[in-house]
Amino acid sequence: VQVQSVLFLTDLAAVGRGVDAMARAVEIARDRGSVSRVVVAYGDCSPRPVLDDDVVGQVTRTLRAAGVDHFAYTWFDANLGSAGGNNRLFEGLDSDLVFLLNPDTVLAPDTVHELVRGFDEPGVGIVEARQLPIEHAKDYDVTTGDTSWASGGCSMADASVIREIGGYDEQGFFLYCDDVDMSWRVRLAGHRVVHRPSARVFHDKRLTADGAWRVSPAEEYWSAEGALVLAHKFSRPDRVAAIRRDLLAHGSEEQRRAVHDFDGRREAGRLPDPIDADHRVGQFVDGHYARHRY
């Protein structure tokens, strides 16, 4: 397994908690025989390296003590985005599985083992973990786990499938919807994307005082941009038009800026070519990319 994370100004304490938990999860997976060789690759898109040599040394020692064979930390010296950063880490990928993980997450001790077990089922290309404490609402088949898409925050993929589809579309997506796009292309290639609720990951989310999601301006911008590009790429001009209208009429300043930038890319011919013309995998339901349970 290659475990990989892309950092961007990530809080050092959060990285430490994540590494600690990951080390234990690898240890348990090795004890149970579900993994053999494990490498961990961190790529850093921050303006300055988040990890200095001392921290890299500490992380290396922690991971090695848990049975991780190799730890590599690469400062990209450029903000490649989530998609671009992960693609850089895919280069030279020689493992059977690749574990995509947000750096500010904390794995449950049995998560690596549980995700690997997900590949016991036939035809699985990606296995997604359940995020806590705020779970994603997208629906999945309660018998098989099959779902529309898998979050790049904590999913394990068959490395050969990643190679087959060429990784993330970093030209199309910078930060948001890159995982939806990759999931749908995996499914277009004939592989299954499954959710596995027994595999847990803590993804630190906060709620506002009235119980709503706390969304940053950057999240507003990149999720709006991702929504438009995704609808365009999966041959849904009707959705592109509807999202544009909605964001321009009711969106925040960041969201309206995202619309203008999208328009600019379209005029410059810098949008990806549309695929899934017969809408086999692309799902646009009430502003989501899957049917939601609630």
Binding site: R24, P133, R196, S198, D204, A209, R293
Partner: protein
């Protein structure tokens, strides 16, 4: 040491002493009464068939005893070696049946050397020792000290010659440290002590609300609120304990998390443990209370804890709890908690990454209060995916609990899931606050209310926890509505049966309520007057006809 001449009475302190002597003394031999004064117990001791020997420094008492036909010896207990040598000379190898040390220890600046010497004297024959000392934690002294009074008297609880004031824990510690194991107690109780003055002091007057409140606090905080004299029997044992003083709190974490489980929801428990592992403030430990857990379930819990990274598993203590209702594990877990605050999670609760950290600001700004953050609710269900049992959310996050704590509203019904509160551990340790084990439901509401009424609540509007409402198996569904109503009734009746401490703002709230009652009364009067008016009565047939027509057209 003593020049007091108090006579013996079966119902008094000396009667209590003789009871312990009778239970513990060897049948024959010398009864050594150290610091004997006038030897109030001499005759009852002799009647038991032992040989009374009184030793003291003051000649008056010794002369009196000698005149009554008892053996005496003059010893100065400030010179312990000399005193023991004199005692050994008087006893002269005779068997020691019992030793008494009555109203004496408190007159010694440091009684440890004497206690240790007596222990050596008693060790060979395992001679019992009966001690009596006044109780400085009597409620009368506490109430008076609260109002700035500390009244020395010639005799009694605050005898002006007392050099050391004893508490139960202090006495227990000094006895243990000097090789004495307690084997009996016959403490002398006195609700109105000799310190029940000045006359009419409203803190002491038994019908005043203030006295009711203060004495209830004192009784809840610990035993011996009305003990006048500790009367205890001990036996010598090898090797005293070290560390006589109560140990200081070492490495006390900010929070102890009590995680309550019956070990029958492993998937949920693993969710809760993951939430704890991910806390950004790790200054907490965990008491994992396994309540009536079946062996297989307990094994699963154990495995889940062992799997955690050592950084957390090393801070988890397992506590097996047997019997009782939902309150039992909470009492036992609070009893072994070490945190400055204690919060409770059920095994199916979820908390956000700043759940622990979210309590910090309120703790810093309003120390001593109950800390309260905001919880949201979410429906959840069990699923089996790819043959593996798991859980998932089944509804949106619902903001159904208020953003701040309002005592009045909470008196109507509970609006704070338990994991959104952290309690100062002092409530349990120092104030004796306990969960009511007779309650099968609402034990959290009851505890929260009583805590809030005692120390108040510091609220934070930060959402830090999620209460999961299960499609089946929730405690709401496991208990009948009659049980809930009965529990609520008991809780409120008990609260209303006592004097309570309400927070600032309560006077205004009460006034509003009374004004509202007056307004409603006025409305009722107006309605009554209208309904009994002549015009209303005269139009009754017309209204009946119209109502009949309306019913017919509706039908």
């Amino acid at each position: 040491v003593s020049d007091y001449d108090f006579s013996y009475g079966d119902d008094g302190v000396y009667g209590a002493v003789i009871k312990l002597v009778a239970e513990n003394s060897h049948g024959t031999g010398v009864h050594l009464d150290v610091g004997c004064g006038f030897g109030a117990i001499a005759e009852p001791v002799r009647e038991r068939g032992t040989t009374y020997v009184g030793v003291d420094l003051e000649p008056a008492g010794l002369a009196d005893l000698a005149g009554r036909g008892f053996e005496t010896g003059r010893v100065d207990l400030r010179d312990v070696a000399g005193a023991i040598a004199e005692i050994e000379r008087i006893v002269a190898g005779r068997s020691l049946a019992c030793i008494t040390l009555l109203d004496t220890l408190e007159h010694l600046a440091d009684g440890r050397e004497l206690l240790a010497a007596l222990q050596r004297l008693a060790a060979s024959e395992s001679t019992p020792l009966v001690v009596s000392v006044p109780n400085v934690t009597h409620q009368d002294l506490g109430i008076k000290l609260l109002t700035g009074r500390w009244d020395y008297t010639d005799t009694g609880l605050l005898d002006r010659t007392h050099l050391v004031h004893h508490t139960e824990s202090g006495l227990a510690a000094v006895m243990r440290a000097n090789g004495w194991r307690e084997v009996g107690r016959a403490d002398f109780e006195l609700v109105r002590s000799d310190q029940d003055f000045p006359r009419g002091h409203v803190g002491l007057a038994h019908a005043s609300q203030l006295n009711d409140y203060l004495t209830r606090l004192r009784r809840a905080a610990g035993p011996h609120a009305t003990t006048n004299q500790f009367v205890r029997a001990y036996l010598p044992e090898d090797g005293g304990e070290t560390g006589e003083a109560e140990s200081a709190e070492i490495d006390e974490p900010f929070l102890t998390v009590v995680l309550r489980t019956r070990a029958d929801r492993p998937a949920q428990l693993r969710d809760a443990l993951l939430c704890l592992l991910a806390q950004d403030d790790q200054d907490f430990d965990v008491v994992l209370a396994l309540h009536d857990a079946a062996p297989a379930g307990a094994d699963q819990v154990l495995a889940a804890v062992r799997e955690l990274p050592a950084s957390l598993s090393g801070r988890v203590r397992l506590l097996q709890v047997t019997g009782g209702g939902r309150a039992r594990p909470l009492n036992e877990a609070f009893g072994v908690s070490r945190g400055e605050y204690v919060a409770v999670l059920d095994d199916d609760d979820l908390v956000l990454g700043h759940w622990v950290a979210g309590f910090r600001p309120a703790a810093a700004e309003q120390p001593g209060r109950v800390l309260r953050s905001v919880c949201v609710a979410q429906r959840a269900e069990q699923v089996t995916v790819a043959d593996v049992r798991a859980v998932r959310s089944a509804g949106p996050v619902e903001h159904v609990y208020p953003s701040s704590y309002d005592l009045g509203a909470h008196l109507v019904y509970n609006r704070t899931p338990f994991m959104a509160m952290a309690f100062p551990r002092s409530l349990y340790r120092d104030m004796g606050l306990r969960f009511d084990e007779s309650l099968d439901v609402c034990e959290d509401w009851d505890f929260g209310l009583r805590a809030a009424l005692l120390v108040g609540v510091a609220s934070s509007s930060e959402v830090t926890s999620i209460y999961r409402r299960w499609s089946a198996g929730a405690s709401e569904a496991l208990h009948s509505s009659d049980e809930w109503r009965a529990a609520e009734g008991r809780i409120l009746a008990r609260l209303d049966d006592q004097v309570n401490l309400f927070p600032p703002g309560t006077v205004g709230r009460l006034r509003q309520v009374e004004e509202m009652r007056g307004y409603i009364w006025d409305l009722e009067q107006a309605v009554h007057q209208y309904a009994t008016s002549r015009s209303w009565r005269l139009t009754r047939p017309m209204r009946a006809l119209l109502n009949g027509l309306r019913r017919r057209s509706d039908g």
